[in-house]
Symmetry: C2
Subunit: 405 residues, 2 copies
């Protein structure tokens, strides 16, 4: 969808296992930071879209999550809309808010992505992941994977590594077809760990070598632990404003949301484009740019192979060349087209409902030249890709968003 | 929000304890009916907004509920947005879809409200209700109500009757301040049971006398069982189209969505208007009509007192006159301003995510003169009020929607 909306302010918590903080504390921190960054107050917000995925199963807050979180901040009256699309909940919220602003229905809208995944009972966290797959299909998947599972994580096999099994299958297929190597997957994780080491808000700050990644604990062949995104908590918020409000605020370095395209997954044929390709094609057309015009990207690297496959789906390189692209250093800070400068899901972390919004926080700071040690010099065009859940042989929800200055 | 969108088609399941049907079966029935009613096919839909409240706790399907339900129908690719606002999830979905259409972003959007509340383990159903209150406040409420609770439903006290306790308190306050009587609450339930007896899609078809209602089992003083909405399952769908598409479809009796206003609850002072009053005031202003211009209404009668209080909040009568209004017969079929001709939440049933959409189904059929035995002759203006959850001393989410021909 072609959009004309601006990001007036961004804010986020560090992503981490915040054992001492709940949804309210995490949400409040991100919202206050974003509103202050925009030079606004809470009273200036006309509506709020809140993306969260798992609070029902994790905390019992099955309903009205946004009202509970924002109500604790003293916010009320304004429309609060809770949206959910698994790991793409945050970017789904952003798209709704941006469309409403583009349409002239609001001038200033809050977008909050927030997630509390850690729980003293780890099984609750795992149950939340299982809920992002059609539960009727889940039993079949468990049965079909049980025979081939290489997971050595007792109890985790039916939940967290369910998604990692799906990624591992895609990784093995890519290796078989294109000759992609475990070292290339490890290169993604190593690169993102370097980026994460520069990001104070990343869950993991340690820089890993390719060897470190390869010798980490095996989860599912060929994925080692550091090729898989972790479980964590966090919140990210952005304030979306109309062109009129952006002008009134006198934003010094306004970031424009040019387009956000969303597709839902379905059982497509082998040779049909998947949701990433559909979204990318339309988004580039609507923004009237191509992959070569991008300066920086945040991709949904829930696993390391997903980033390599994502390069190809988004047109950063031809099919089958993704492994070589990361090895060339092109997607590392200082390279031709840096990807996941935040550390990505692998290292910044992946509190699912917050992830899509956090990608926008990173890209916004890049476009405004305030990304510090992670700065991509002169960045003017940025792309975020955020997917969630599983439906048929595809993601359940996929979004590609393009920002520009 | 002032809107300009049309309802091209409506459909719903019967509301009932559908022990043999899941979300997919219920959703499919409503969607197919609405799309056929619109003279469209599934392929004509450009996006879908799906309102559901409790699937995570009831079925484990915490995420991507819309994708799972619509995917089973063979739908894919289009953006599917899951929205949640407790018992107001359905009207929240409608508002989002209508705004997108009003803004010219889509020409044909599906709105589905669907809920599966029954479960072999009744405690799961109760847990879902508890999730519509701030879970941090829940323990305090349970403690404060425990001393005064008159519930004789073992085990239900901490969940279903939690909301009924809230309604009972409001009822007792209304009785104390305005002299409203138990007989007047019973008159609401009796009236709605008469309406429900005429509605093949109602969960309860039995017509009850005022005496029947008064002598039913006591839940919480002054509420007897038939003054409380039941637990049930069901789905309702509408197809929202742009003016352009409405014209192209050659709709014979087009129904226009004039406005839908949404507010979130907060801790307001005693003398401040609550969310119903705020929504009503703005909705009447935006639709440029007043309460006297309405021909038929669907109110959120989760309990019988809520309907009486709703009359006053919506301006159908002065404050304190609600009890006398229902006793006068004015809100009964054939009266001056019929309310809840569907049977309302009390008798048609209240599968929470479906409720807001089902209200629109009823009003649409009324405005199109196809409500059969329940027809309000010459109905031209209709209002739906749908609220959800609890935040502070108010509903968490409230919506008032006005339709016209």
């Amino acid at each position: 969808m072609r959009l004309n909306a601006f990001i007036a302010g961004v804010g986020m918590t560090r992503f981490a296992k915040h054992h001492d903080k709940g949804l309210k504390e995490l949400g409040a921190e991100a919202v206050r930071a974003a509103v202050a960054d925009a030079g606004l107050t809470l009273a200036d917000l006309e509506a709020a879209y809140v993306g969260n995925c798992a609070a029902g199963l994790i905390t019992g807050q099955e309903s009205i999550r946004g009202q509970v979180i924002l109500g604790a901040l003293g916010m009320g009256k304004i429309p609060i809309i809770n949206v959910e699309n698994a790991c793409a909940s945050g970017s789904t919220a952003l798209l709704q808010a941006s469309a409403m602003v583009t349409a002239g229905l609001y001038d200033a809208v809050l977008v909050l992505g927030v997630e509390k995944l850690t729980h003293p009972d780890k099984m609750r966290s795992f149950a939340a992941f299982a809920g992002a797959i059609d539960v009727d299909e889940l039993q079949e998947m468990i049965a079909s994977l049980a025979s081939s599972a290489a997971s050595d994580e007792p109890g985790a096999g039916q939940s967290r590594s369910m998604f990692m099994d799906v990624y591992a299958m895609a990784a093995r297929a890519h290796m078989a077809r294109w000759g992609t190597t475990r070292e290339q997957f490890a290169a993604v994780a190593s690169k993102n760990s370097f980026h994460g080491s520069l990001n104070p808000r990343a869950q993991f700050r340690e820089a890993l070598s390719v060897d470190d990644v390869l010798h980490d604990r095996l989860i599912v062949e060929p994925l080692t632990r550091s090729m898989c995104s972790p479980i964590g908590d966090g919140a990210a918020a952005v304030v979306v404003v109309s062109e009129r409000r952006a002008r009134a605020l006198g934003l010094s370095r306004p970031v424009r949301i040019l387009t956000s395209v969303m597709h839902s997954g379905w059982n497509h044929a082998e040779d049909e484009p998947d949701t990433v390709e559909l979204c990318a094609r339309e988004a580039f057309e609507e923004a009237a740019i191509g992959p070569a015009d991008l300066d920086v990207l945040e991709l949904h690297d829930a696993s390391a192979p997903a980033e390599i496959i994502g390069y190809e789906q988004l047109g950063l390189c031809p099919k089958g060349e993704g492994g070589r692209l990361v090895e060339s250093g092109a997607t590392r800070l200082g390279g031709r087209i840096p990807v996941n400068t935040s550390g990505g899901l692998l290292r910044k972390g992946h509190p699912v409902g917050a992830t899509g919004v956090a990608q926008i926080v990173e890209l916004c700071e890049q476009l405004q030249g305030r990304a510090g040690a992670r700065q991509v010099e002169g960045a003017r065009r940025a792309l975020a890709q955020n997917g969630g859940g599983k439906k048929g042989n595809d993601a359940a929800a996929m979004l590609v968003t393009i920002l520009g200055t």
